[in-house]
């Protein structure tokens, strides 16, 4: 069994409590218009070129005989600035756990967060990794678009859950993320019923998710939760498009990036749900 990772970052500051390493899993069922990790969407390994620094020297275009370069038609072992990389590396659970355990003395004061992409697409792999990390807290950042049985299985071994809910309207959700939100709502409903606590994150996209109508609908949905919920409103950041060119894509959002954000916490606060707007 292997899992596919596109990045591992030490000292993640926004992925849970304490000192954490975040593992970014490749592949996501959604394709949100505002995704800031475009190299995490597809499951296949892909070329990632830092075009902001590329001096177009052409060395990587000279044919080479390295086997790992062949699928990309580009040499990965010659760039003078190391600007040519592949996003997508396969690990066995043991190999990934070994990497993480090497940092145990830090992670004992925090933990490991699986992010992505959508990490729960590779839930069986992550479960194996977690088994090999005794005493280390684990968290997930999920879009929630996961089969309920997989989701519930994950909740059996994860310590902290950060789940997104972008849009309450199924039609709007389909329009902006490419998928309906039925599975997501079902999984959140299950959390509210069965989990002690979790964090719900709403990315505030100007004119899309930050509308009062959407926030009120989400707040209403969370109203009768048995679980303690902490809501985090994460403002849209105009840095979002940073990496698109590097994976050979254009970033052309269909919303106005510069429109002021509606950071309205009231729908949640008025229902007594702890809420933070960042």
């Amino acid at each position: 069994m292997t899992g596919r990772v596109f990045d591992i970052k030490e000292f993640g500051l926004h992925d849970g409590f304490g000192l954490r390493t975040t593992v970014f899993m490749k592949g996501c069922p959604l394709s949100c218009a505002w995704c800031h990790n475009p190299e995490g969407i597809g499951f296949s390994p892909e070329l990632f070129r830092n075009l902001s620094q590329c001096r177009d020297c052409g060395l990587c275009r000279i044919p080479c005989d390295h086997p790992d370069c062949q699928p990309f038609g580009t040499c990965l072992h010659v760039c003078p600035g190391n600007f040519v990389k592949v996003a997508g590396t396969d690990y066995t659970p043991e190999a990934l756990a070994r990497k993480l355990l090497a940092q145990r003395e830090f992670l004992e004061f925090g933990g490991v967060t699986f992010s992505g992409g959508e990490p729960l697409m590779q839930e069986p792999f992550l479960r194996e990794v977690a088994k090999l990390l005794p005493g280390i807290s684990t968290a997930v950042e999920t879009c929630g678009y996961v089969a309920p049985e997989v989701f519930q299985s994950a909740c059996g071994w994860l310590h902290d859950i950060f789940i997104d809910l972008k849009l309450f309207s199924p039609e709007e959700h389909l329009r902006w993320t490419g998928r309906p939100n039925d599975l997501i709502l079902e999984n959140i409903a299950w959390l509210m019923e069965n989990r002690e606590k979790f964090t719900l994150r709403i990315p505030l996209i100007p004119g899309v998710t930050d509308r009062d109508e959407n926030l009120l609908a989400i707040a209403g949905f969370l109203k009768n939760s048995k679980a303690k919920i902490r809501v985090e409103l994460i403002p849209y950041n105009v840095m979002t498009g940073a990496k698109y060119r590097s994976v050979g894509r254009a970033y052309v959002p269909a919303f106005d990036e510069k429109q002021p954000l509606n950071k309205n916490t009231l729908p949640f606060a008025s229902l007594g749900i702890p809420v933070t707007a960042f």
Partner: protein, 686 residues
């Protein structure tokens, strides 16, 4: 901030209007070769202070600014040429980089110190000790000079009705300080006088330790409120900046005004106090590069100290620099320092560990370049080495020869006499000898530059040349000599595909540890000409540039002309996996054996410090560094200017972390448009 007017005067340099150049009319009195050097130092100080004009700035509480600029030398060119021909001269020749025992004189008063010197002079005369007589007469003259200027300041303060300043100057510096304000004013006068005498890199030492009893007594007796104390402290901090543009250093700001806070006391108990925290806070408010804040911590330090300190890191000054009592104190004791003295350590101008009052150490007398040793060994012995172990042994011998050569350069050290500085050093008056002649400790320290470059280069040999055979000896030597010309894939492999020190790779980290041990071994048991020991270090000072310039390319993929990392840090282009791995690599080796000083440096973008959670996480990281046995650490919160520089010179900022809400990133990897945005956003945030 309490006195914004005073702060504005400083920033606008309005006080420069009072300045005038040194009047050299009577220069011959202190350049006369027939007069002993110590007397000439005393005469020059007397002339300088006689030319000084007492000036009080609006609302200023801690008086004394320099109005006379420029300090002519005491030697003629011919004389100095003769001295330098016969002696080893350290840097500029003047005493530097030490820490005076301000506390003793602040408590006793200069009148008492003067009496002590006069009494000792009678003994010296009775003993016909010519050297002692000349030294003591110079010291007595200089103390009188300082007292005279203080008296003129007092008269001027009385004249303009500055009753608070006058009341303070009626006590100090004649008598010992009895209040916090008197202590600060006394310190200012002493420190001001050291600069005026001509010494440089004049450090401050453990200010929170020696000044706290005065503050505590004032607070306990209700003589002062905490707010009033903060106001005084702010004024005191400004005092380090009035004249600092005139202080000598490698570049502006390199003036060595290091202040040490916290740490254990003589009995080994944590002595971080109210004043320690107030100093961190004052530094945060003022955001000035002087005084330079250091903090001693240990595995026993409460987490709150790290939080208060990290709050200061947020200011982007690179303060505080941390040092670890658990490592430094035993390391110094191993070098022969007594437990009591080791527990009282502070830092010299940058990071070298020194002992206030009792040490005449020169902790920056030389610098070992590990990559130079590596290059020499490679060019002379790589071809003939049958195994990696063979090559390592050759490298070891080369390193031993190199440190011996460095030691051999230090013969017949000459230091320009410093009679007033000597008054502030323990036992100089009692011994009737200048501090330049030595003290309880007379140890010499040698920096160690380019450790990561050398360890990374060794790893390339171990892994490829002697390991899988994928690179031949000829290929790697050719790459070194010809700067990897035409070897693009070899360069990529060496530079980007091989583990580096900072990646928490056991092989590289072990190689670095081996190099550190050899450096220490090569100095162990060796005595310098003053009977002191040699101390190995992890600092680089400016040598990370100079040493790199004189070398060819190195097998780790460092191109010719590229600098080493500063101090004890990863190579510039080693894009490490993150702060955890860096800390693990840099706490692996025997840092307690190379304890001359030199920090691991890590840079974080200021946005990391934006939230309380971010500050807490950085504080935890620092605590783990200390708990894991790291010896010294410098954290930088990077500001806009540095980001702009990072854009111009991305190669110098590989590890610069920027925080963007959903993800952390390396700044240099961002698309330029987004870099620009981050820079613009920074401006709004400040």
């Amino acid at each position: 901030m309490y006195n914004t007017e005073l702060y504005e005067i400083l920033l606008a340099k309005k006080h420069h209007a009072y300045r005038k150049p040194f009047d050299k009319a009577n220069e011959s009195a202190f350049t006369d070769p027939k007069v002993p050097a110590e007397k000439r130092m005393a005469i020059r100080l007397a002339q300088l202070f006689a030319q000084e004009t007492p000036v009080f700035l609006p609302g200023q509480k801690i008086a004394f600014i320099r109005t006379v600029t420029g300090l002519p030398g005491i030697y003629t060119d011919a004389e100095w040429a003769e001295i330098t021909a016969r002696h080893f001269i350290h840097e500029l020749g003047y005493l530097s980089n030490m820490c005076a025992d301000y506390a003793a004189t602040i408590s006793l008063g200069l009148d008492a110190r003067l009496e002590e010197a006069k009494t000792r002079l009678e003994i010296a005369k009775a003993e016909n000790d010519a050297e002692g007589i000349s030294f003591l007469e110079s010291a007595i003259c200089s103390m009188g000079t300082v007292l005279t200027l203080a008296d003129r300041y007092l008269a001027a303060a009385e004249e303009v009705g500055l009753t608070d300043i006058a009341a303070t100057l009626r006590v100090v510096p004649h008598k010992g300080a009895t209040t916090f304000r008197e202590c600060l004013q006394f310190f200012r006068i002493l420190h001001y006088s050291l600069w005026a005498e001509g010494e440089y890199h004049n450090t401050i030492g453990r200010f929170d330790q020696f000044a706290y009893p005065y503050l505590k007594a004032d607070l306990d007796e209700g003589r002062i409120t905490k707010t009033e104390a903060e106001e005084l402290l702010e004024d005191f901090f400004l005092s380090f900046n009035w004249d600092s543009d005139q202080y000598i250093g490698v570049q502006l700001g390199d003036n060595g005004q290091s202040m040490m806070l916290g740490g254990v006391n003589e009995d080994g108990e944590d002595s971080y106090n109210l004043l320690s925290g107030m100093c961190l806070q004052t530094c945060y408010e003022l955001k000035l590069i002087d005084p330079k804040i250091n903090l001693r911590v240990s595995s026993k330090s409460p987490f709150n100290q790290y939080l208060e300190a990290t709050h200061l890191t947020k200011a982007g000054l690179g303060f505080p620099q941390y040092s670890n009592d658990d490592v430094v104190i035993p390391g110094l004791m191993r070098l022969g320092y007594s437990e009591k003295d080791a527990r009282n350590y502070t830092v010299a101008a940058c990071w070298e560990f020194i002992i206030p009052g009792v040490a005449a150490d020169i902790p920056n007398i030389g610098a070992l370049s590990y990559p130079k040793v590596f290059q020499k060994a490679a060019y002379e012995h790589l071809m003939e080495s049958a195994s990696f172990e063979d090559f390592l042994e050759k490298l070891r011998l080369t390193l031993f020869a190199e440190t011996k050569a460095i030691r051999d350069t230090v013969k017949d050290l000459y230091i320009v006499p410093a009679p007033f500085y000597s008054v502030l050093m323990d036992g100089c008056v009692a011994r009737a000898r200048d501090i330049g002649k030595g003290s309880r400790y007379n140890n010499f320290g040698i920096h160690g530059t380019g450790l990561a470059t050398a360890a990374d280069s060794l790893e390339v040999l171990r892994r490829y040349v002697f390991g899988d055979g994928s690179v031949s000896k000829e290929e790697i030597l050719d790459a070194m000599q010809n700067d990897f010309a035409g070897q693009d894939t070899l360069l990529h492999k060496c530079r980007f595909e091989t583990p580096k020190m900072g990646d928490h790779d056991e092989h590289v980290d072990n190689l670095a540890a081996t190099l550190m041990n050899w450096f220490a071994d090569s100095l162990e048991g060796e005595k310098n000409e003053r009977g002191g020991v040699w101390r190995a270090g992890t600092g680089s000072a400016m040598f990370y540039l100079r040493h790199a310039e004189e070398l060819d390319a190195s097998p780790d993929g460092r191109r010719k002309g590229e600098a080493f990392g500063t101090n004890y840090s990863p190579s510039l282009y080693a894009k490490s996996k993150g702060p955890f791995s860096v800390i693990q690599s840099f706490t692996h080796g025997p840092v307690n054996r190379v304890i001359n000083g030199g920090p691991l440096t890590m840079e974080f973008h200021s946005t990391v410090f934006r939230t309380d959670e971010g500050i807490e996480q950085v504080a935890k990281l620092v605590k783990l560094f200390i708990d894991k046995g790291g010896h010294q650490l410098q954290l930088n919160s990077v500001n806009r200017e540095r980001l702009l520089d990072a854009q111009e010179h991305p190669e110098n900022y590989r590890n610069l972390i920027v925080r963007i809400w959903g993800w952390s990133a390396y700044f240099v990897e961002l698309d330029k448009a987004y870099q620009d945005h981050l820079i613009a956003r920074q401006e709004f945030e400040q």
